[in-house]
Amino acid sequence: MSLESRAARASRSLRRTVSDLAPVGMPAVVRRQRLSTFASLAAAAAMVLVFAGIASAMPSFFEPEQVAATDPSLPEPDGSPTVIEPDDQESNGELVEMEQNFDVVPVRQMVSESDLPSPWTKFYGDALPGTTVIAVSDWGSADLVVDERGEFSLKLEFEPLPPAGLEFPILLTVGSAAYEFHFTSLWDPGNVDITAHQLYGISDDIEAYEKFFGTAPPGLVISAESPYGSATTTSGDSGKWNLKLWFDDLPIGEPFDVIVRIADEVFTFGFVSVYEPPPLPISVSQANSTSDSSSPWVKFIVDGPVGTVVDISSSYGSVSRTMTGTNEYVKLWFSSLPPAGVEFPVTVKIDGEVWGTYAFTSWYEEPAPIAKTANSTYGSCSEDPPYDVYYGTAPAGTNVDIASAYGSGATTADGSGNWSKQVFFAGAPLNEVFTVTVTVGAEVFTFDMVVIG
């Protein structure tokens, strides 16, 4: 069976249950007085009567209402409201005030004594909506009207302050029911202990301060002194005090004492600043991403705290540097020449953690190797003394030897791969060809030479 069907059947059943129910008698409640002022006066007067021990003789004083009880056979509880004649003969007289509820579930008091400088007590319980609840004492009163929830919680704050140790009565009226409670305030402004407490003892803030608090008789001066600042305050009427002490130019990591003086009492507290400057932010930027040098390098600009370890690595070499300043250039010379025009990654690590990967391209192309060559400038000579000039190319530093029967010479290829040498042939016969041998490294070249007469 569905929920809807069950619900419909159960609802029909419940309606049938109450269908034959005749309404009980109409209430003939005499209209309640609007109680704010009147009820307060009545309750206060009732309290006086209670104290005088004559309240029992005048029960009607507590009964601002009259309700109907149309069935005379019903038991009438003690102190119940006055019964008037029924106006509906069919009624059975059940519509009466729930006086009994308050007997079964009495009103409760939350605290009956307090050592607070602002003492209060609280009453709570159940009552019919609209019921007026009034608490009256020599040290203050409070009232409320119970709302639709049928519950109340009435707080009574005592003003002026009751004398310390005096137990005084509070009369609480809930509708027509009256209860007597007691309260004792234990707070004595002349007998407040002198106490001092420290809140922190340590600070990690660049602008450090400490808070002190405690109790002292009202009006006493409290001072806090330290090498780095001092402050004073005065205890308040409630006997409490609190003090905030700011420190100037505080050394980091060096504990010191703060002396708190209240009258003749001296309290010593310790304090230390553990402020740590925030770490410098780290930043890395690449200074160059290409090079056309035959000895290429890449450079990074690193900002960070001293001691930061910077590692730069690539397939063509790596470098590691520990920063000695907060701003440094870190350069990586590539140990082998990267291929020209090919972009490759360069990884930067900061303190072992990969910070980023950057791109680099070398545009330098290695030149082709220099061939070993030798040439003769003239091949014949009519000058006296006769000579010829030999020249050619060879890798830089290659030795060149020139030899003949009538003269010789030697030289070395220069840095650009060129060489040149003039050789004189003194004593060579006229018009007779002879051989000149040029050795460039391991290669040998021969030339004919003739001196023309």
Partner: protein, 214 residues
């Protein structure tokens, strides 16, 4: 007192509404918390001269609503004895405040709110039973007993969280729309929808579990 409506958009505003001014006067001078939820909105009222509603008399209100309110109290308290007691208390409270409650557009909603609040506390119900038994001992019979299956349904309803139980009872027993339930319980319509949805789910689960066990 010669009193006139303040509306600007009607020629009839110049005519004195003799005999109605008391209603207007009271509604203006009673800015109670409950009024905000129990009467029509100011926007609705500001469209023109207000229709004047006569203050209902308590007796006809009491006789007309009594049975339904007892049913609601019975469904939520589960006690045949306490249900009548709770109902009487609610009507007694309404009677005391009748000038105010009667000025509401829906005084029956106020009574149901009180009953809904008074009925859902187990301890209160037991206390009431104890008190009622003492006071009503001369009475021959209380409410008749429901069939077991139906009684169990309402027991399961009472096993729901407080708000869900109230919403379910008003929805099924009184067949009230969501807006009505929201007015009675003093909460938003969406809140009622959520409680209704969750309450039905939980209730169905409870009833199914019981069927399986039996």
């Amino acid at each position: 007192m010669d009193f006139r409506f303040e509306s600007q958009d009607s020629e009839e505003t110049d005519k004195p509404f003799i005999g109605f001014e008391r209603v207007t006067f009271e509604m203006t001078l009673q800015p109670k918390r409950e009024r905000r939820s129990m009467v029509r909105s100011d926007t609705e009222r500001a469209r023109g001269p207000r229709p004047v509603r006569a203050v209902p008399d308590f007796e006809s209100f009491y006789r007309g609503e009594y049975r339904a309110v007892v049913g609601l109290a019975y469904a939520l308290s589960g006690s045949r004895i306490a249900a009548e007691d709770i109902t009487q208390d609610a009507f007694l409270a309404a009677h005391k405040e009748w000038d105010r409650v009667a000025s509401y557009d829906r005084p029956e909603a106020w009574v149901r709110r009180v009953v809904s609040n008074l009925s859902v506390s187990f301890m209160r119900t037991k206390t009431r039973e104890a008190g009622a038994i003492i006071r009503l001992k001369s009475r021959d019979a209380y409410l008749p007993v429901m069939p077991e299956e139906d009684a169990h349904f309402w027991k399961a309803v009472r096993g729901l969280p407080r708000r869900q139980a109230q919403v379910i009872a008003l929805h099924y027993l009184e067949d009230r729309p969501v807006a009505d339930i929201a007015l009675i319980l003093g909460c938003a319509e969406n809140t009622v929808k959520v409680h209704l949805h969750k309450g039905r789910q939980r209730l169905a689960r409870k009833l199914d579990e019981r069927e399986e066990r039996s």
